[in-house]
């Protein structure tokens, strides 16, 4: 008997029915996953859109709490359902999930119902006390977001003070004896040169480094052109990841890099609606965490039948589990490894879903992005803070007239003329 392929094991799975096409018997796991599962392998659940930060690349355009946010009781019902469906763990995020007053209760509730939790935080509530509480649970995993190995690089994206806050949280966790926290980094043009520094930081804290891809989703759409790694940086990243192997987690988010040749560890497939999905703070179910847009909205957990019915019967998910047309990509020799790349990245950059990924390493994305008819799309919801924080956002336009001279007379409070008080001669 030659080797029968019976088992595949994965250290930390990703971040990975009503079927239209009949499922083939046997075949690879990836082929099986493309037809969907009875329940997600894991799912992302954003508990709140409220956030103390205003990161420029926020996937969910978070900032302000949504008044329709699920109540504590509604969240508990969702957890009951996940337990019944045997969803073994959830990735909880936001917003900043720990700013919900019932966050710690929901954490306990999930763990008590055999739903393991990994939550993402910017560290704001990870006090020494909370760190000790977290260290006492076997089933909770903490992921601290950091997008620069130095305050300068991090705070440019995440806001002033956010680097110090994350470092304090990591120190508190390490001192409390919390084992194997995750440091979660979105790889950008500015921090891709700091990968060794991030790895060292993780090692110094007894933590594991997790790198994920910058997606043009949410507010990320506004900064993607400026922040996504260049073609040569992608090559460096690929080599770094190959060398790091399973010692660095990626949430399987770099499968588009497989087009360089070798597949990276993990599932090299788009799991949207097949093995993963997202529940947002108001209970809307989207195909994946990077696709918060009405086109990828499958339903809401408050509808009759709840989450299970959305997962098993939504038209959208049935479509995603049907064989996909991948257009010209299928003629590329690397198609089997990258499978056309990330659906959300294509969607939000305005590329056709059956074409190449915008960051296709074979260069097909660049020509697609050059299409003059291309129209980038923006998120269909926006909970951004209405005020902007200092030092980010559009560069203020400077008009060279100088500051008004102190001798200028005060403008009347009711002056309606938009040019009231403006003197082009700049006295």
């Amino acid at each position: 008997m030659t080797a029968l392929d019976l088992v595949t094991s994965s250290a930390v799975p990703s971040t990975l029915s009503a079927l239209r096409a009949p499922r083939p018997a046997g075949g690879s796991l990836v082929q099986q996953f493309e037809y969907g599962l009875d329940a997600p392998i894991c799912l992302t659940w954003e508990l709140t859109y409220a956030c103390n930060l205003s990161c420029v690349h926020c996937l969910s355009s978070s900032g302000r709490r949504d008044p329709r946010e699920l109540s504590t009781a509604q969240c508990e019902s969702v957890i009951d359902e996940l337990q019944a469906m045997q969803v073994f763990y959830v990735n909880i995020g936001g917003g900043e999930p720990t700013v919900r007053p019932d966050f710690w209760h929901l954490l306990d509730y999930a763990v008590d119902h055999q739903v393991g939790v990994k939550f993402s935080t910017n560290g704001v509530r990870i006090t020494p006390d909370r760190a000790r509480f977290l260290a006492s649970s076997n089933y909770v995993d903490v992921q601290v977001s950091l997008d620069g190995a130095t305050a300068e690089v991090n705070d440019h994206v995440r806001g002033v003070g956010s680097y110090a806050m994350a470092r304090t949280a990591l120190t508190n966790l390490a001192e409390a004896g919390f084992k194997d926290a995750k440091i979660s980094v979105v790889v950008t043009r500015h921090n891709v040169g700091q990968l060794d520094d991030f790895k060292k930081l993780a090692d110094d804290h007894g933590a594991t480094l997790r790198l994920t891809r910058l997606r043009p989703s949410g507010r990320g759409a506004d900064v993607w052109d400026e922040l996504h790694p260049t073609q040569s940086q992608q090559r460096d990243l690929y080599n770094w990841l190959l060398n790091a192997g399973e010692r660095v987690l990626t949430g399987d988010s770099f499968f588009h890099l497989a087009g360089f040749g070798e597949s990276l560890p993990g599932l090299n497939l788009c799991g949207a609606g097949r093995v993963v999905c997202l529940i947002d703070p108001v209970g809307d179910v989207y195909a994946c965490p990077f696709a918060i847009h009405e086109e990828f909205l499958a339903g809401n957990v408050l509808e009759s039948g709840g989450f299970a019915t959305v997962w098993r019967t939504s038209e959208l998910f049935a479509d995603l589990r049907s064989p996909q047309t991948s257009g010209a990509c299928t003629r590329c020799q690397f198609f089997d490894s990258c499978r056309g790349g990330c659906m959300a990245a294509k969607f939000f950059t305005g590329l056709p879903l059956d074409g190449p990924d915008p960051e296709c390493v074979q260069g097909y994305g660049e020509s697609a992005l050059a299409d003059p008819d291309r129209e980038a799309r923006s998120s269909s919801q926006d909970h951004s803070h209405r005020t902007t924080r200092a030092g980010v956002g559009p560069v203020p336009v400077e008009i060279g007239f100088g500051i008004p001279a102190p001798s200028a007379p005060p403008v009347h409070a009711c002056a309606e003329n938009p040019l009231a008080g403006f003197d082009p001669l700049g006295r």
Binding site: M1, S10, D38, F88
Partner: protein, 100 residues
């Protein structure tokens, strides 16, 4: 958590680790270990039947036979059980097993 450094043999009694939950799927099953957070895919329904039958069978041989696995595939199945053992998904049954 100490993982016993043993190989699975046909003559031994084994069982599922107490920290492992199994979710059947059409291709086989997902097995999740709440302690070490490893997820493992059992890629054949027959392997699921073997794993689920371990506890009641006197030994691995009986579990394989009960699950209807043809004897010329036993070597491959024992290798699969070995890899499950190395991830602490299954454990040797020693009469009194303690939870992790």
């Amino acid at each position: 958590m100490a993982v016993p450094d043993v190989a699975v043999s046909l003559d031994e009694p084994w069982h599922l680790s107490p920290s492992v939950a199994i979710r059947p799927e059409s291709f086989g099953a997902l097995a999740y270990h709440f302690g070490n957070r490893r997820l493992t895919f059992l890629k054949r329904p027959e392997l699921l039947a073997v794993v689920q039958g371990l506890d009641e069978a006197a030994d691995v041989r009986t579990a394989l036979a009960n699950a209807g696995v043809p004897s010329d595939e036993w070597t491959a199945y024992v290798a699969a059980l070995d890899s499950l053992a190395s991830a602490d998904m299954i454990r040797p049954r020693t009469g009194q097993d303690s939870a992790p």
